[in-house]
């Protein structure tokens, strides 16, 4: 009862190894000829399967070398915003991070629900202020499921951002976002050096790996200084890539 096209079967075969973790980021994926033998298809069929997975951003193919698993950062479009340090550096500015808190806690309430944890399961709580040229632009309030990140407390999140650390330890991810405007409380206002009465842009992000929620983050940004921008261009002749809601930009004004 397998009516799926054969190229899809090949895609599923590779996808299964990606999702099970058998293939990690940057690992080598079976070559077209290996798939021809293993799956008993023609090379054109294997080629189509790998090519489509490449087009979808899951694999990276290098002519003459081979096919490799893309790391999450490379695959992501929407989530390029993931690593704010890279965004800042891309603008040619200086990034600095100040770690306000790094501790192990029992999850409860909203955090436990967001991460689908049983009561009492542990999470790491990371609180970091990110600065662009010494101006605070993001307060990162992140909770990471402890069992996924045993060495979390040893990290120096002033050097490696939490999101970069997470993409290292969990190879393939999904993410949910929500963006809203909100009034910050006193602590957020202070950490971001915001004026009284100034709203903030609050991005909430939940990331998943292998079907399980790994991390939940509340990202506060000062509303007067920051905006989320993006461009959608359906297949411009020259430019096949499209950028989507990807830049967390410091607003110029």
């Amino acid at each position: 009862m397998n009516s799926k096209p054969r190229y899809q079967q090949v895609k599923d075969y590779v996808l299964a190894q990606l999702e099970s973790g058998a293939l990690q980021a940057k690992d080598r994926v079976p070559s077209e000829n290996e798939l021809v033998e293993k799956m008993n298809v023609s090379r054109m069929t294997a080629n189509r399967a790998l090519r489509e997975l490449n087009d979808e951003g899951l694999l990276v193919r290098i002519a003459g070398v081979g096919t490799f698993v893309a790391d999450f950062k490379a695959t992501s479009h929407v989530l390029e915003v993931h690593n704010i340090a890279d965004e800042i550096k891309r603008r040619g500015h200086e990034h600095a991070a100040l770690v306000l808190q790094l501790s192990r806690q029992h999850a409860r309430g909203e955090i436990a629900r967001a991460l689908q944890l049983g009561q009492g399961e542990d999470v790491f709580h990371i609180l970091v202020v990110h600065r662009e040229n010494d101006i605070p632009i993001q307060l990162e309030d992140r909770y990471v499921r402890a069992m996924f990140a045993p060495d979390c407390l040893e990290q120096d999140f002033a050097v490696i951002t939490p999101s970069a650390y997470l993409s290292n330890i969990s190879p393939l991810q999904e993410a949910e976002h929500s963006v809203q405007a909100a009034m910050p409380n006193a602590a957020v206002t202070r950490h971001l050096r915001m004026k009284a009465g100034e709203p903030c842009l609050l991005v909430m992000r939940r990331t998943w790996s292998r079907g399980l929620p790994v991390s939940f983050a509340r990202l506060h940004h000062p509303g007067s200084r920051y905006e989320l921008t993006g461009r959608f261009a359906p297949a411009n002749s020259g430019n096949n890539e499209y950028t989507q809601f990807s830049e967390l930009g410091r607003r110029e004004q």
Copy 2:
């Protein structure tokens, strides 16, 4: 000096007709066999070209019938938010729109810059409040380049949303977004029935057609009631489609 692969040449051939307007939404695109003759390629090559344009959302292919130009709404992912009426109806709620203003104006300042207009060129100004179950959720403050929409003043934007009207008259589009948190002025506060001191989520959108900016919109949403959500899932086995920052959701709380 044409080193482009031939399937890309076929794609470019079709794309040129899309962008020039020679092919409009829902028009029939040359069949594979027609392209075989016209472009002197094999059917497999023509197939790849049309298949990729289909995967990119620009064409719709129906086995046994033919290939057709997708209308913009169907192609869009990020821009499903485009039509707030559809979003509301998808949630099973009632949409109502109140037209506050509909007039022809001379563009100036920010509007002229955003639409890249010469001084004195005319725009239509549309101001509409969108309600979900009688609760205001969006104040749409839109400017449309007059030469693109000659019959704009005859439209009833309580029945057809401005974005739906625009996708009808300009078949293929690009869009730029910016999302920020801001404090509304008195008029916005009143139209959206917001409490004093409540921030709003401000989405600014600029749409393009055939390389020219067509429309510029400021969309205010009450911060306490609304959020922008999205999910990015790289190729779940069953679900090849991904939703991206696509829903303008009424927050439940």
